[in-house]
């Protein structure tokens, strides 16, 4: 564990020593949710989650989803760059003998920390406008989805060009959460279930709008997270080593 611990400490220092980045982890979700909370009206709407149909206001229906989306977007972009920015140095470190699993574990832990910061910042601003019914599950689901997209970002970053990767990580969470799995969407196509938002995202929205935890969706979300971790570990290892 010493090697992983050392790699983790180095990863945290490498990225936490960028004040602008650390600030953005908090400021961007906060601005996003805060401003939308002010702008979105309280007109009555019907929100759909798997367990229930809820009559509520537009703000109460969409703001939790937007808070999750904000954390997910931060995590996705961060995952991409956390991986891509240090590929050369990581390659040299791997050549020096650091096992790729140690480096991956360190990076995944750092990404999770970034996603946690963004999730907490998002939720903190969200509760100013509307409080989720189950705050802990809401944060946990948001975190799971954030880390999942962060790992997807890592894969996208090493497989595609950075610019292309950012484009993908801009649209994928937005299409997933804001469109396909929005609580305002009544009947998304069945194939949209392949998106991670169908599971951890829906668990988050469910936790925000109802008192019944959607453990099934959360569990599948965790499974998606595990799958994304495996794919990311393989993709990054191939990118770092020859």
């Amino acid at each position: 564990m010493t090697r992983t611990g050392t790699a983790l400490a180095a990863t945290v220092k490498q990225f936490a020593r960028t004040p602008v980045l650390v600030a953005l982890l908090v400021v961007l979700p906060a601005y996003f949710v805060g401003l939308l909370g002010v702008v979105v009206p309280d007109s009555p709407v019907v929100a759909s989650v798997p367990s229930a149909t809820v009559e509520t206001t537009l703000g109460a229906a969409v703001l939790p989803m937007l808070a999750t989306l904000a954390a997910v977007m931060v995590a996705g972009i961060a995952g991409l760059f956390l991986t891509v920015n240090t590929l050369d140095a990581d390659g040299w470190l791997a050549l020096a003998g650091l096992p790729s699993r140690s480096l991956f574990a360190a990076r995944a832990a750092a990404l999770s920390a970034a996603a946690a910061v963004a999730s907490l910042a998002s939720t903190a601003v969200l509760v100013v406008h509307v409080a989720p019914d189950q705050v802990v599950l809401f944060v946990a689901s948001t975190l799971v989805l954030g880390v999942t997209y962060g790992l997807v970002g890592a894969v996208v970053g090493v497989v595609l060009d950075t610019l292309v990767g950012v484009y993908v990580m801009l649209f994928a969470p937005a299409v997933d959460l804001f469109l396909f799995h929005s609580p305002l969407a009544a009947d998304p196509p069945s194939w949209s279930a392949v998106f991670p938002g169908r599971w951890a995202g829906v668990a988050a929205i469910d936790a925000a709008l109802t008192a019944d935890p959607n453990w099934g969706a959360f569990a599948v979300g965790l499974a998606y997270l595990g799958g994304a971790a495996v794919v990311a570990a393989v993709a990054v290892r191939r990118a770092v080593t020859v």
Binding site: V20, V39, I77, V164, V166, Y167, V168, L170
Partner: protein, 244 residues
């Protein structure tokens, strides 16, 4: 002399953008993806303020607009960040900053033009009839140039790819969510979003084949403001290294 410098500069900047296979592939492949996905997703929204039969095509139109705009925005951002030191060195070597900036704008228009073609072809190919292709194309290019200039501003102020991408993504998503009409937001604030007027113009060009009666003047005014803002930010970045 300045015209020749501008041509040389524009050619160099264009090559630095286009000599990347992944960027070219992205130009061709991703906008159609976005158009189709947006259309499929919007079809499941029951309460938007138009006939449900056109929800899918409305989604595709939004997808075409956003796909073009954000691709151009990212190219503007990344181009500015990656070339910031080189442009500063060029400026030091004697290339007039205003000409350098003009070349960036020219390349932005070119990239927006290419992205707009792909998005428009995808829109038509997905089954949405376009009443006026030239007008629709022009509006897409306008949206692309707007976002490309926004990308230049962000890239000049935050000259690092990670942080700049985060800022641009959050600006872009905020814009797309509110200007696309998915959320029925009734506030004057929405009129300040970069894609608010292009969205109305594009819808009119696609559905009615005309821009008459649409807010063309505010859209062009917005473009002028962005050109000035991008010029100031760019000049500061290449001249004095002023950035976060």
């Amino acid at each position: 002399m300045r015209a020749r410098s501008a041509a040389v500069g524009a050619s160099a900047h264009a090559k630095s953008v286009l000599r990347k296979p992944a960027t070219l592939a992205m130009l061709a492949v991703l906008p159609p993806f976005v158009v189709v996905l947006y259309g499929a997703a919007m079809a499941s929204f029951p309460d938007v303020a138009f006939l449900s039969a056109s929800a899918e095509s409305y989604g595709r139109m939004g997808g075409a607009l956003f796909a073009t705009a954000f691709l151009s925005g990212l190219v503007g951002l990344f181009g500015t960040v990656s070339a910031e030191r080189a442009d500063r060195y060029l400026s030091f070597a004697g290339f007039p900053a205003v000409v350098l900036f003009a070349t960036r704008v020219v390349v932005s228009v070119g990239v927006a033009g290419l992205a707009a073609v792909v998005s428009l072809v995808a829109l038509v190919g997905a089954g949405t009839g376009v009443a006026s292709l030239p007008l629709a194309y022009a509006v897409l290019v306008l949206a692309g140039v707007l976002y490309s200039l926004l990308g230049v501003v962000v890239g000049a102020l935050v000259p690092r790819e990670l942080e700049g991408s985060l800022v641009l993504v959050f600006l872009a998503d905020f814009d797309s969510f509110l200007s696309g009409g998915v959320l029925d937001v009734n506030t004057d604030f929405v009129e300040f979003l970069p894609l608010h007027y292009p969205h109305a113009l594009f819808t009119s060009a696609v559905r009615r084949g005309t821009l008459a009666g649409e807010p063309l003047v505010p859209a062009v005014a917005y473009l002028a403001v962005f050109v000035v803002a991008a010029g100031v930010a760019y000049a500061a970045a290449t001249g004095r290294g002023w950035s976060l």
